[in-house]
Amino acid sequence: MKLRHFLWQNQLFATALAGAVCLALPCCSAQTAAPPRAASAADAQTEDVEQRSGPYAIAGQSYTVVQYEKRLPRVSDTALGQTLAGIEIRDAAGNVAYQKAFSYAIQKDYFQRSLSASARLAPGKTGAGLVIRYSERTARTQTGGLQTSEFWQLFGLVNGKLAPLGKPAPIGSTGGPYMGVVMKAANGGVTVVSQPDVIELQVWTGYFYVFVPLRVDWNHGGLAQGQRCMEMLGGGLKEAGCEMRVEANRKPSSEEFTFLRLFVEAHENFASAEHVVLQKDSKFEIMGASAITTWKQNEELIQPEFSDLWLHVRIGDRAGWIRGEEDFAAAGLSGGSPAP
């Protein structure tokens, strides 16, 4: 029984949030208008590293991404021995189209946090844009692990200039960015003249990657969520998780048995769970995931957050949904950090 009544994947209009939302993304003590600059006290201990990627063809222009990094030369462990201090996007003439600085600090011979970035071109019907993924590793914990977080920037044309697009607008909200053209006939018929592009961001959930769809109009600076799902509960609509593709690196347990509570739907209230014993030779297939995705934004970096996270699996001939750290671990998906 499926209560997801509305999957607004074809919604063409979305809303930009009115006003900035200041959320505490850990990497962003950034200065948006200043050139890359390092903490002076640490400068004496670090070396400068410059990396370039591109060129990327966007709206007839060629852009190059320049990353300015700081490295601690006497640190053999590169995990926290190098960090991004600034980033620039330059046009073919070398003019800076965008720049951003990131602060850093050294503690006990390591950077407190290490930031890295990777850029890729995202071509589409509406043009092309630039996607930059940031990966931030924070200092080692007492257990020896690294905490890794991911952030993104999407660049498209805003008023004819390359600029970050900000947080995706939720589908169904009003006053959102321009996301296409809809022709409405006198008889009420609606014709979609152009549609935005759909891109997917591969995002770490804590246990596996999901591919989060976004709708983007590169040439008009529009960015919205790619899907939004609602369910009918108690006579009203309630936000529900949407299904997404998954990429997972499963490491089956060495135990003879592990245990899964398998739900018919990605919802605990629809029916009681079936108890499935996972054995070493059990056939296990991951078919997808479901989660409610909300977006945070700190200055110009955006980050998705997942709630009500479920994994769609097939064990032998039984298919269902599992949730929670305990069951993900039983399935061989222990919690951790994404690849840097």
Partner: protein, 366 residues
């Protein structure tokens, strides 16, 4: 007096016939339900019992009715018998046939009617076939003896149930007169085989010098629990042997009950259950325990709040059919969390929730 009882029992080792015309065991309860009203203190009917007046004596059985006798039963040195008036059941869509009880009378040795109860008669309607059966057992306790009468309703066609619903009424001698110990009690379950013996039903144990405890089984939704009922011979009153009623607005953990072993558990594949060390999820981390198809599963005990409702006794001449609505009863309190203590291949723990009951293969209503 007890010696006399047992001597008489020996003399009258007559089986209280179980009068049931059908072999079909699928039953549904009639239109009665466990009263939802708050329990109230019922007056022992024995203190009010008066023989029906001559005006209330029934007319001789019409030609369409037959008379059948149960007993005699020796109670308090007196002999009693139960007389049933029956009629042919009207066949429904399932073409049922047989007899149905339309009236029951308890008479003393002289033939005087001490108690009378009537039962609805289902006229032919071509769809349903409803009928009643009545059985009687001598109830034997250490502190007293009485008559245990049960009323069972059948309806065809009907959906199968794990346990049928029946009504039980206990009679004993108060001030030298046979009296009903309150209204019948409605039970989805019944009597336990181990206490039944050749027309009698033994009490499980005495309480003090004036009461005995008799055990009923009742359906919990996934297993049959043993509910002890206190029979107060001196005051003619029934009550729960252990006080587990849920206080208003305060759903307690309940009381611990025995569990009837299940003959069949429904498992077709390896599975697991979550075993808690105590009947509380906060009692510790649940241990996930493998249950194989051939695992040895024992049901040890159950913990659940229950509800007892006193019925409304109609006195010795119950000629209306309202007695069904006014019956008392007991069962699991609404919205209760049933915990069952189990032993799986030697490992003990407590389970609850539908998913664990189902994983263990416990039966459930369709």
């Amino acid at each position: 007096m007890k010696t006399v009882h047992f001597a008489v029992i020996g003399l009258f080792a007559v089986v209280a016939a179980v009068f049931g015309w059908r072999a079909v065991h699928t039953r549904v309860r009639p239109q009665s339900t466990l009263p939802s009203a708050q329990p109230s203190i019922a007056q022992p009917s024995g203190t009010q019992a008066q023989p029906p007046s001559p005006q209330t004596l029934p007319a001789p059985a019409p030609p369409s009715e037959a008379v059948k006798l149960l007993g005699p039963f020796s109670i308090g040195g007196q002999s009693y018998k139960v007389e049933l008036r029956t009629r042919k059941v009207q066949p429904g869509s399932t073409q049922e046939s047989g007899d149905t009880v339309v009236a029951m009378e308890i008479k003393d040795a002289a033939g005087a009617i001490l108690y009378r109860k009537t039962f609805p008669y289902q006229e032919a309607n071509g769809e349903f076939s409803d009928s009643w059966s009545v059985s009687a057992l001598q109830l034997i306790g250490k502190n007293g003896s009485g008559l245990l009468v049960s009323y069972d309703a059948y309806s065809e066609p009907s959906a199968p149930e794990e346990e049928p619903t029946g009504w039980y009424q206990i009679f004993g001698v108060i001030d030298g007169k046979l009296s009903s110990f309150g209204a019948p009690i409605e039970v989805q379950g019944g009597l336990l085989d181990k206490y039944a013996d050749r027309g009698s039903y033994r009490a499980e144990r005495p309480i003090g010098t004036e009461a005995d405890v008799i055990d009923f089984k009742f359906w919990s939704g996934h297993c049959r629990l043993i509910f002890p009922v206190r029979v107060d011979w001196s005051h003619g009153k029934l009550s729960p042997a252990q006080e587990c009623s849920v206080a208003a607005g305060e759903p307690g953990a309940g009381c611990q009950y025995g569990v009837v072993p299940e003959d069949k558990l429904y498992r077709s594949d390896i599975t697991f259950v979550r075993l808690w060390p105590n009947p509380n999820e906060k009692s510790g981390k649940a241990e996930k325990t493998v249950v194989k198809v051939d695992s040895k599963v024992e049901l040890i005990a159950a913990l659940v709040p229950t509800r007892w409702v006193d019925g409304k006794s109609a006195g010795p001449a119950d000629n209306s059919n309202d007695w069904i609505k006014e019956a008392g009863g007991f069962g699991i309190a609404p919205e209760s969390d049933l915990w069952i203590k189990v032993r799986i291949d030697g490992k003990e723990g407590w389970i609850h929730t539908e998913e664990d009951f189902r994983s263990l293969g416990l039966p459930e209503d369709e």
